[in-house]
């Protein structure tokens, strides 16, 4: 199998998913409407959080909007990543997976093309959020460079997290179950992290949960990039967590995927 062959087949899977994504009204909703709703709803209702003593000193900003922009990115990335697995189940259910398996393509290309398209989707959604944030008045302490790092974090974390959804999807082979389990795990994790509230203001038990919550470290990394500047320790932790989540979820997914497309 030549390099050209692999390039062509991964490209085929990749372009198929991109087309499918952009031809669905649901994508437009998730990409555009949801971040707007989150931005407007939460930042308006919770604007006074910034006045709580200790907020400004622990976060470095007195704008909840600025602080919350990280949460919107994370929420959108999580929601987007959680849908990744559903496409895989739909393909198994519809027989399209078999159609690809009968073709002389490498099994891994089916997964790789899909993951790449998920990455592009998450990238576009994150760009939309950042543009929206700038329009609403979020300032990025690290400038354009920082925004690029934020996008890189969003995409890599999204791909890592999409492995969880694909794993659930391949394990259950049921699109509804996948969606349900995804929603049930995503939301609590988001609120049990530092994404929506600085660590010091969280209740004690949430603080201890947050310490073990991977989302906390990604949120912290985004927070410093938006609010204070490059803090290499925080960014390092974020990177480590993304790598760890990705290593676990993607290798579990690969095992599941091998089983699903065996032979």
């Amino acid at each position: 199998m030549s390099a050209r062959d692999i390039f062509v087949e991964v490209g085929a899977v990749f372009s198929r998913w991109l087309k499918k994504t952009f031809r669905r009204p649901a994508f437009v909703f998730f990409a555009m409407v949801q971040p707007v709703v989150w931005f407007l709803l939460f930042t308006q209702s919770f604007a006074k959080i910034a006045d709580i003593p200790g907020f400004a000193s622990s976060t470095g900003t007195n704008s909840y909007l600025t602080f919350f922009s990280a949460a919107v990115i994370i929420q959108t990335v999580l929601a987007s990543a959680m849908q990744s697995g559903i496409g895989m189940v739909t393909d198994i259910e519809s027989g399209y997976m078999d159609k690809m398996r009968v073709a002389p393509i490498h099994r891994f290309s089916i997964l790789l093309g899909k993951v790449m398209s998920d990455g592009v989707r998450i990238l576009l959604q994150s760009i939309i959020i950042i543009v929206l944030g700038v329009i609403l008045g979020v300032t990025f302490a690290t400038g354009i460079g920082g925004v690029l790092v934020i996008l890189a974090i969003a995409v890599t974390f999204g791909i890592a997290w999409s492995g969880i959804s694909t794993f659930i999807a391949l394990a259950t082979r049921n699109s509804e179950a996948t969606l349900m389990i995804s929603i049930l795990t995503t939301f609590p994790l988001l609120f049990l992290s530092t994404a929506v509230m600085p660590q010091g203001l969280l209740p004690d038990f949430v603080q201890s949960v947050a310490t073990y919550n991977p989302i906390t470290y990604v949120a912290n990394a985004l927070h410093v990039l938006v609010i204070t500047g490059y803090d290499w320790t925080t960014l390092g932790y974020g990177l480590l967590v993304i790598l760890a989540v990705g290593a676990i979820s993607l290798s579990a997914t690969t095992v599941m995927f091998r089983r699903a497309v065996a032979s």
């Binding site: 199998m1 490209g11 085929a12 087309k19 009968v102 699109s175 509804e176 065996a262 032979s263």
Partner: protein, 319 residues
């Protein structure tokens, strides 16, 4: 439980080979093993000299597979579906585009080519599905129940198309639960029941195995007793006649090579002044073959057509 148990068969290059059997007989399981989709627990498969176990990807290069359920991507246009298939087979772009145009024409999908497959009718989706299976010009084409769920008109059109493909040189392995389909398309076939091959050969040979044609003689006045008796007397000794049975309008003669016996039967009856109002010969059908080997009639279960509801011209699925 074993879906398929100890089956063995050989498909000749250039033929249409049929796998006939009722639902749940093991037809799809067999086709899935042969197309590398399912791993077998024992036995060996060789396709065009390639061992399935040793080199499945070499087999994938030379086969095409039309699954029982239509599996086209409804979010993509017909042309895009075909283009993807070409990319899965690593065809070069210019070659692929040429083939796509050819096949769109051949399957009558030219006009709908740039519409999303989700807007197609059931027959069109089936044709597009077949088109994706053959666009790579496979040496060996597997078709799993190609006409199940199609209306009679589309069924006949599909038969013609399959015949044309075969004439153009494609070896075809097809499964079916329709006797007529097997009879019309297959040069040779196997009858499979409960995971076992119960009979195999050309349709004509399988039917010949029944051993008898049915010659039906209608007699005047529904066959007077005297006429019946005389007829029995003269026809009994005729070579090839195995059994003579009464029926309400006359006699039924079971005989080997029924058609060739007709002149002799007519002559013998004329000799003893028994008139015939009507004579007909019917060959045994594949139905009779199935009954003979399994002891029961094959029931065709018409599964619901594998197309789902179309809402507003476009199917919706969760993302």
């Amino acid at each position: 439980m074993r879906a398929v148990d100890g089956i063995s068969f050989h498909v000749e290059r250039g033929e249409v080979f049929g796998f006939l059997g009722p639902n749940g007989a093991g037809k799809s399981t067999t086709i899935k093993v042969l197309t590398t989709l399912l791993q077998k627990t024992a036995g060996s498969v060789t396709v065009d000299g390639i061992n399935l176990e040793k080199d499945p990807s070499a087999i994938r290069k030379i086969i095409g597979y039309g699954s029982q359920e239509v599996s086209v991507d409804d979010d993509l246009t017909g042309r895009e579906n075909l283009r993807l298939q070409c990319m899965f087979h690593h065809l070069h772009k210019a070659d692929a585009e040429k083939r796509i145009n050819e096949i769109l024409k051949a399957t009558g999908l030219e006009e709908a080519a740039d519409r999303r497959a989700g807007t197609y009718s059931g027959g069109m989706r089936k044709r597009l599905d077949l088109a994706t299976a053959i666009i790579t010009r496979p040496k060996l084409l597997f078709l799993d129940e190609p006409t199940t769920g199609l209306d009679p008109q589309n069924r006949v059109a599909m038969w013609e198309y399959i015949k044309d493909l075969n004439k153009a040189g494609t070896t075809i392995f097809l499964t079916t639960q329709y006797m007529e389909e097997a009879d019309r398309l297959a040069h040779r076939l196997c009858i499979i029941d409960n995971g076992k091959i119960v009979a195999g050969g050309t349709p004509a040979a399988l039917k010949a195995e029944i051993g008898a044609d049915v010659v039906q003689l209608a007699l005047p006045d529904n066959g007077a007793a005297a006429d019946r008796a005389r007829a029995r007397q003269v026809l009994g000794p005729v070579a090839g006649v195995q059994e003579i049975k009464d029926y309400d309008g006359g006699l039924m003669v079971f005989a080997k090579n029924g058609p060739s016996l007709v002149p002799e039967i007519v002559r013998k009856l004329d000799d003893v002044d028994v008139h015939i109002t009507q004579i007909s010969v019917s060959a045994p059908s594949l139905d009779d073959v199935f009954v003979k080997h399994t002891g029961r009639k094959m029931r065709v279960e018409e599964v619901t057509p594998p197309r789902r509801m179309v809402f507003g011209g476009r199917r919706r699925r969760p993302m």
